[in-house]
Subunit: 228 residues, 2 copies
């Protein structure tokens, strides 16, 4: 009963493989969307299919794990942003960190996996933190008044999803990845400048409602009018 941590033949390798799997899954999903195959993920991770299925009982379980990790990332980014004194700098931190997570590629799998309680819970916590961040920045007069939280969420998704980066990764053009990454940073900077309170004209149309973000996670039951 003295030694309880005595068995671990190849445990270090297992952890490395798990990390590789999660990263590979993100990349392959970015490249192939919901069609991402477990074979492609395993190959990209340099890991056997068997090892993948020892850790995750099904493909869906792996995808759910990815979602949870992404939601954790968003929550952490928002918390870090709140820890910054200057409201505008805090918001900028969140936006850039959220985009840098590389989780934007997960969008396409929304609606193809069932939402676990853990996912719903973490999503709510992250949302709350972001709401505080946004309100603080707006109250300080740093963020233009007509931008809602949903606007910001959609802007982040728009910038976080990069077909160019996904394709370069898929083609293994690691030589161009740095340049492409920097290019997106520039675009992000442009968008952030547009978020400042110095707006020339009010945003067009009505502010989008939350349903835009939530309804996409409802599985494609019989909604598919194409098959009707």
């Amino acid at each position: 009963m003295a030694k309880d941590t005595r068995r671990a033949p190849r445990q270090a390798e297992a952890e490395r493989n798990d990390r590789a799997l999660l990263e590979a899954a993100r990349e392959v999903i970015g490249a192939d969307g919901e069609h991402a195959s477990v074979a492609a993920i395993a190959k990209r991770a340099g890991v056997g299919i068997g090892s993948l299925y020892r850790r995750y009982r099904t493909k869906e379980e792996l995808f759910q794990r990815l979602s949870v990790i992404a939601l954790d990332g968003y929550h952490r980014a928002a918390t870090e942003g709140l820890a910054i004194d200057d409201p505008w700098e805090g918001l900028v931190h969140y936006v850039t960190a959220a985009i840098g997570l590389g989780a934007g590629s997960l969008g396409p799998i929304a609606g193809t996996i069932t939402v676990t309680d853990e996912m719903a819970d973490k999503n709510e916590r992250a949302d709350d933190a972001v709401a505080t961040l946004v309100e603080r920045a707006r109250a300080a007069g740093a963020l233009r008044a007509d931008v809602t939280q949903v606007d910001l969420d959609l802007l982040i998704e728009q910038l976080a999803t990069s077909p160019l980066l996904d394709q370069l990764r898929k083609q293994g053009r690691t030589d161009l990845l740095d340049v492409a990454w920097n290019a997106r940073t520039r675009i992000t900077a442009i968008a952030l400048d547009g978020l400042r309170a110095t707006a020339s004209q009010p945003l067009p149309g009505h502010p989008p409602g939350r349903e835009l973000l939530t309804e996409r996670w409802t599985p494609a039951d019989e909604v598919d009018d194409v098959r009707r």
Copy 2:
């Protein structure tokens, strides 16, 4: 020899089908990327597979046609922009029109089809027109000085690709399409505000080179380091 347009049993239906096919192909590619299947395209268009293959000898030929149409659209948008007297308004017209084309979804098929001479030619023409448009806006002091044409191209691609819109279309959620479309218009407006000359700080890093836009079209020959 007098009457040369006398035979056309179901020609009207054929034209309608062709338009439906092209639109459906854009949508399905947006949803499924390079994995888009001809069956899905035909079904979405409400057309038989046979009709698709009577017009396009192969799937690649259909995709090439889509690319040509997209390039025509970019060129037209740029030309229209140049026809507008105010340099800034002209640029705004091009950006919004280019995003609205719905051709951003085509990005994922870059590198999976061979580039025809027609495509290369039209691409060059469109590029030239955009270059003029950008230089004019910058010379007028409307566009911030540190934004290059490549920056603008990438910004347009970033905004033109919308996982949310693609997914809603795929799920047949036509009820939310208008809201989502308006939401992206708002985001576009934010980005355009960021492009104005009133920049607070210079853009980070170095301006990206053209190769970011061109090299992605080189087929994934043996570049794929994943399979090595």
